[in-house]
Symmetry: C2
Subunit: 143 residues, 2 copies
């Protein structure tokens, strides 16, 4: 999660909402790392999770990553949670919960839907305090 | 919807699940058109809707497309429905309903969630018969 937090800090330095993600393979090797890039790319789909899924799949030449884990600093939104399911990621570790926009334990609770065909193992609250502090500081500075 | 159906047919010819999408601006100009590319790119996020949203936003240099409409041959999944909401698309026209994987009138019903902050106008069932026939033929041929 430290690498994901680094990516979140780097995103903040680029004036992006500070969220970071990494994908690690079954041997513990980091396959992909990214921060949020929605502002830079003017792309509403360029969340950190989407970026690392696309990177890791491109690297492997495979659309499924069942041996891999994704670490994200914030609870994924419904778009990213669904993408995590499509990518068949084995484990999801995330930091702060997101009551307003989350899609794992809030809102549509994507992995609990009958139309969700793969549910990763879930590990919430990992590095939660640091991830939440980063987001709080970012939005305070902009008020 | 005819252009979206053309893109779905082109996807089938590339051995992709036949789903197509286009984005049209407020003046009726087609900004982006794409079929599903998940196999070609080994990218589980490369649904037709995501491709056209990314294309149209890149073209405009804007992450929001409130004056635009998206036409898709199948009910969007929860990932794409959420992306449509993030892109603030004004209107969503879609063809066949998707009881197994849809996220608009099935499963998480994304636009009805309290965590969904933008809901497009919804026009289901447009070109439904042709879109459904394309999918049926595609999966029959592969059995």
């Amino acid at each position: 999660m430290n690498l994901a937090l680094e990516e979140a800090r780097a995103a903040a330095a680029r004036d992006e909402v500070p969220i970071g993600a990494i994908i690690v393979d079954g041997a513990g090797k980091t396959l992909a790392r990214a921060g949020n890039r929605t502002e830079e790319l003017a792309d509403p789909t360029a969340h950190a999770e989407m970026e690392v899924i696309r990177q890791a799949c491109a690297l492997r030449g495979e659309p499924r990553l069942p041996d891999c884990s994704i670490y994200v600093t914030l609870e994924p939104c419904p778009m990213c949670a669904t993408a995590i399911s499509f990518a068949r990621l084995g484990r999801l570790y995330y930091g702060a919960a997101d009551a307003k926009g989350g899609g794992v334990e809030h809102g549509p609770r994507i992995f609990h839907q009958s139309t969700c065909h793969h549910r990763p193992e879930l590990y919430p609250g990992i590095g939660e305090d640091q991830a939440a502090a980063l987001l709080r500081e970012f939005f305070q500075d902009r008020r």
